[in-house]
């Protein structure tokens, strides 16, 4: 084993010893950082879950055209021809009433209820992709299509899905901004804690420098200290967030089980978990670096 590896091992051992020497203070520090990290972690899980749910919804501009219940296949063919001929329609998909019922049974919890029905309550329908998403133009399209024979209802329901999509994008951005601020807060917390360490070890640092320690040698144990603190806080934050999500999901399932749609917060995937751990360790490292460098400059200024 060469000297370089040994100096790193010494630094790591030194950092662990320092953390263990003040278990209470170390725990409090880790917990404070963990709370700052847990908030955006929870936010990310929430936004991603909503995003995934919205992803299942159709947010491209489209219009649903429902025929009357007594409309026949032939009626549907005539309406389809008219829809296709319209300059604003990009694609027309026919959804026969039987298929619509099957889909409803498959995607919701209403199967039992639907099975008890004597006849299919759903009409033939079309999903028409439009060339425009402009509300005024869509309104015109709607009025035009309502005039077609056997057309009962024309709805542009994608609008709310699109709005929800916009909201989740907005939430994602707000979250990124918030996460950045909290990352800064973590930098400050770690920096402050490391600064206290540096100040209490000032004599040792000065003597070490006198007998040949480089700035890197002096920094090394503090960098490990900061990184370990960050790593522990990251792990603690993930545990906190996971616990909260389990608890929230229990509430959510009680809340949504009566609805057709079930919503659940999904915890982060493994690569994001790893990124959180590496990120907090890195924040600790950087916070320590800034703090030690500043203190070393102050020492140098005084001597």
């Amino acid at each position: 084993m060469n000297a370089w590896i040994r100096t790193h091992r010494h630094a790591l051992a030194d950092a662990l010893r320092r953390l263990a020497a003040q278990p209470g203070a170390s725990l409090v520090a880790v917990f404070v950082i963990a709370i700052a990290v847990a908030i955006p972690v929870l936010g990310v899980a929430l936004v991603r879950s909503v995003d995934a749910a919205v992803g299942g919804l159709d947010t491209d501009p489209h219009v649903n055209v429902f025929l009357t219940l007594d409309a026949t296949e032939d009626d549907a063919k005539r309406v389809e021809a008219a829809l296709r001929a319209h300059p604003q329609s990009a694609a027309v998909k026919f959804v026969p009433r039987a298929k619509a019922l099957e889909e409803l049974k498959a995607t919701t919890h209403l199967a039992e209820l639907l099975a008890n029905l004597e006849r299919n309550p759903l009409p033939h329908a079309f999903t028409v992709r439009t060339r425009t998403a402009d509300p005024a133009q869509l309104a015109a399209v709607r009025t035009a299509w309502l005039q077609l024979p056997r057309v009962e209802q024309v709805s542009a329901e994608f609008e709310w899905a699109e709005k929800l999509g916009r909201w989740t994008r907005f939430a994602g951005r707000a979250l990124a901004g918030g996460a950045l601020l909290l990352a800064l807060a973590v930098l400050f917390i770690v920096g402050h804690l490391i600064r206290l360490q540096v100040v209490t070890r000032r004599e040792e640092i000065e003597v070490s420098q006198l007998i040949g320690a480089t700035a890197g040698d002096v920094r090394r144990p503090f960098l490990y200290h900061g990184a370990l603190q960050g790593l522990a806080a990251g792990g603690c934050a993930l545990a906190l967030a996971a616990g909260l999500i389990v608890w929230l999901n229990a509430e959510l399932s009680a809340l949504t089980s009566s609805y057709a749609y079930e919503f659940k917060i999904v915890f982060l995937d493994s690569s994001t978990l790893l990124a959180v751990l590496l990120g907090t360790a890195l924040l600790g490292w950087v916070g320590a670096w800034i703090s030690v460098s500043r203190e070393l400059r102050r020492f140098a200024g005084r001597s």
Binding site: N2, V207, T214
Partner: protein
């Protein structure tokens, strides 16, 4: 080995502790720096060991001009020069052995090798039995010896000692100076300061007398001090 040419040192306070100092120490030589308090002895030794930087002139140690070295290179150079500080610079929350081990830890020496060298250094200064003792429990003379053990643990080719007999009684002073003589005899270059004439007599070696930041008198190389 050590070469000062027209060296001046002005501290940030503006005080010029060395004004124009030139001298040379050959490899294996023992040179004693004398002068009244405030003459600039400590400053000169710190410049020679790369602890302070010259404001003017050049300090060349082992063929390296110290003013051309960056902070990191200068720190690495310090590892190869043993320095006995006037105020000891011991860590009072560490055992004697840990204090001596500090330079080896910095250099990343293996732990079994560290243990061996620490014990050898403590043995040389007669403190082997006090390896586990805290410095506060050591006498002034013993603390001085501990400081010497830390300075020699890296087996430096140059040993610099700033008034190593400072506040010691005649008997302790004598045994400490004997130590330096023994290092000198095995080829270590020794640069040592003192304000005490009796030390000077005991050490022999070449003398460099400072006064007010200037060289007052200097024996030429190879010239022994009379008396």
């Amino acid at each position: 080995m050590i070469q000062f040419s027209a060296v001046a040192k002005r501290y940030p306070t503006g005080y010029e502790a060395l004004r124009d100092v030139s001298f040379e120490v050959a490899e294996g030589e023992l040179v004693v720096v004398t002068g009244h308090s405030g003459a600039g002895k400590s400053t000169l030794l710190k410049l020679a060991a790369g602890i302070e930087r010259a404001t003017r002139g050049s300090v060349i140690v082992n063929g390296q001009n110290l003013s051309s070295l960056g902070e990191t290179a200068l720190a690495v150079l310090r590892r190869h020069i043993g320095f006995v500080f006037q105020d000891h610079k011991l860590l009072f929350d560490r055992s004697a052995g840990e204090n001596v081990a500090l330079p080896l830890r910095i250099a990343g020496t293996a732990s079994d090798e560290t243990g061996r060298r620490v014990r050898a250094a403590l043995d040389k200064v007669g403190l082997l039995a006090r390896e586990k003792a805290l410095p506060i429990t050591l006498s002034g003379g013993e603390q001085q010896r501990l400081c010497i053990a830390r300075a020699i643990v890296n087996r430096p080719a140059i040993l610099v000692a700033d008034e190593p007999t400072g506040n010691l009684d005649a008997e302790s002073s004598r045994s400490i100076l004997e130590l330096f003589l023994s290092f000198h005899r095995v080829g270590v270059t020794v640069l040592l300061s003192t304000h005490d004439e009796s030390s000077l007599a005991l050490l022999g070696g070449r003398r460099l007398a400072l006064r007010g930041g200037l060289v007052e008198s200097a024996d030429r190389a190879g010239e022994a001090v009379p008396g």
